[in-house]
Amino acid sequence: MDLRYTDEELAFREEVREFFRTELPEDIRRKMINGQVPVKEEINRWQKILNRKGWAVPGWAPEWGGTGWDAVKLHIFKEAMHLAPAPEPLTYNVNMIGPVLIAFGTEEQKKCFLPGIANLDIWFCQGFSEPGAGSDLASLKTRAVRDGNDYVVNGQKLWTGTAHEADYMFCLVRTDPDVKKQKGITYLLIKMDTPGISVRPVVTLDGVPHTNEVFFDNVRVPVKNRVGEENKGWDYAKYLLGNERIGIARVGLSKSRLNRARERAANVTVDGKPLAENSRFRERLAAIEVELKALEITNMRVIDEVKRSAGNAQDPKASILKIKGSELQQAATEVLVEVSGRDVARSETGFLMGDEPPIGPDWAVTAAHNYFYHRADSIYGGSNEIQHNIIAKAILGL
């Protein structure tokens, strides 16, 4: 037993860090440090840099561009990315539809989509949630009826991040309403400029249209854009759950935020002394760091179990990563609010999204925006309450 990285892993970590140090464009790094929201062009630009390096889709099967790294190296890569800090790759592309197509797509679908997905020439969004089907995802109602070589889709999706910018949606639709709710669901790839689709951006509490409502009015989707078999879509969607395991705790991201909090607190004066020297503040930071270090190890333990099970583990311990990871991400955003003080009061969406100079100090003005938005960390991807249910049942047997 040795929790330390091997020499090879350490060398790999250095290589990755060096890459992020030298290749991440400075303007993008700056935005990330400031807590600004990277825009489509920036995410695109960065993904293409990664792709040139061959690191765009490290977790994929090597024949489609994957690196063949093991779980530990994938973890090292993610942590370096978060610490850089670099934008996360478009999760709908890299972590979701890509792996699903590799596993269940036709050869034609793979050839048609995968290179563009990896290089971000094609943007995907995810059409799973619906009004009334949040945590209870399988109760979705959007209907698809076969008509010749098309499905005709009618209904409504909710919480479709980046739908207003996406080229395609991977989408769960109900094709058989008469069977048990998990049955009768089909997985479609829908081109976003198809007639009958309308997208209504939904602005989140940070002032950014992070998500959308999407309406389908007799939208025709070619049958060839169906993934796998009709009525088996739920299985393909579930397969994705296994792909969210590594990095869900976002330890590196929280570390990066705490590092920023510490730097900034050095420049804030309380009672004539830097806040960074205030014992209460230091102890609060240290307390979060301790939990974060423990989570880092917990994360590696889960990775280790994934490794042993040849990558197919649906380890319910990952729910621990989600619960604790989201709590610590939120704790870090709260600390940044505390450090920023009164300057959080201004609404600086213009700066947050990148077009306007800030009114207040650039390091402070995004703190409340981020704090507000990251309340969603404990909600999306199965709320923490759902994660509790999963653990109670799957681990504790209650």
Binding site: V203, T204, E338, V344, R375
Partner: protein
């Protein structure tokens, strides 16, 4: 000990509650927010007509003659409605400075105009470096004949964009963080040398960063004695905390009600999510936090103008601590229990959360006040 409202107070409460219920739906509020100043002039007139704009002022200045309890009633209702109008800035802060520290002439000149809705004011005290230290003031006031000249910058002045007059804290003498040497000055917002940069705030109102360059102030526009304003600055801050605490109670009780209502109606897995015990217990913990906050807002209201400055300071610090803690818990859980919709601008609960979050940064955050309270020896005396 008596929790009864007087007949007059009960009437005030009924009328302001009714006003908010009728005029401050989420949709109506959205419309007011889109107006030029981010609030509604018509409503302001209505507040004036109802006597709300003079609640804490003495009758002889055209006031309602109320005290802290009356302000509590108004602020709690305004908290429930997330009211946008510059009541806190004009009536509680700047109006409070004049009410508590102004000369007879100043009161006669200003309070009736606040009361009839014709004068908007703001309180410009914070500076870029000051954080939550009320005495940390770099803006200077220098003697200039009989009057004064003010130079400096003030940040995040709430409703500073629309104010006709400002009450400005400036330093007459002493070092950067000295309590001694501060003065309060009434400054015309359109005076030469005053420039304002206005912006929206996270809680849906507007604020301004204000630069004062060689701004001349007449001798008659000094509140109290220049250089000796510290006790008054503290009094204004204490009134502010009491008012914010009541506003927070209104906001928290709205979040509580909205969340419980949502739990009763939102269906998942074929049942109302309010049938899940874990969510029920969370809603109960919210209620406990709310009721603790409500109790402390009452305590703060009682103590806000207590003549014993030391006991008052401790009580108000304690009030801000409890309110900060309660509001953070209630707000975060209100969002969490709603799920995704709670994080959107389209749904009302998040706006309460944003308001209470900003409120935490007004007149000192929880940590600031907890540290101050601890330094002052805590709340429990040996006598109990």
């Amino acid at each position: 000990m008596d929790f009864d409202l007087s007949e007059e107070q009960r009437m005030l409460k009924e009328s302001v509650d009714r006003l908010v219920a009728e005029r401050y739906s989420f949709e109506q509020r959205k419309a007011y927010g889109k107006e030029a100043e981010g609030w509604n002039r018509g409503l302001w007139k209505q507040y004036a007509d109802m006597g709300l704009l003079s609640v804490p002022f003495e009758e002889k200045y055209g006031g309602f003659g109320g005290g802290a309890v009356e302000t509590m009633i108004v602020m709690e209702a305004f908290g429930r409605g997330l009211v946008l109008e510059p009541y806190f800035a004009t009536v509680v802060l700047a109006g409070g400075a004049i009410r508590m520290g102004g000369s007879e002439e100043q009161k006669k000149a200003i309070l009736p105009k606040i009361a009839d809705g014709s004068l908007l004011m703001a309180y410009a005290y914070a500076e870029r470096q000051s954080r939550y230290d009320l005495a940390d003031v770099l803006a200077t006031a220098k003697k200039d004949g009989a009057g004064w000249v003010i130079d400096g910058e003030k940040t995040v002045v709430i409703h500073g964009d629309c104010a006709d007059k400002l009450v400005v804290v400036a330093r007459v003498s002493g070092g950067q963080r000295d309590k001694d040497g501060l003065g309060l000055f009434i400054v015309d917002a359109k005076a030469a040398g005053v420039s304002r940069r206005s912006y929206p705030t996270q809680d849906g109102v507007r604020g301004a960063d204000i630069t004062l360059k060689g701004v001349k102030v007449a001798a008659g526009d000094v509140i109290g004695e220049a250089g000796k304003a510290w006790p008054l600055i503290e009094c204004v801050s204490h009134s502010a905390i009491a008012a914010l605490a009541s506003e927070a109670v209104g906001a928290m009780s709205a979040m509580q009600d909205i969340t419980v209502e949502y739990l009763k109606t939102r269906q998942q897995f074929g049942v109302a999510i309010g049938s899940f015990q874990a969510l029920q217990h969370r809603a109960v913990d919210m209620l406990v936090a709310l009721e603790q906050g409500r109790s402390m807002a009452m305590y703060g209201t009682m103590m806000a103008e207590d003549p014993n400055a030391e006991e008052r300071a401790k009580a108000m610090a304690a009030t801000k601590v409890q309110i900060g803690k309660s509001a953070k818990y209630v707000g975060q859980q209100a969002i969490q229990l709603h799920g995704g919709i709670g994080v959107t601008m389209e749904y009302k609960v998040g706006h309460y959360f944003m308001r209470t979050t900003v409120m935490e940064t007004q007149f000192g955050d929880t940590d600031h006040h907890l540290a101050a309270l601890a330094r002052a020896g805590g709340l429990v005396s040996a006598a109990g």
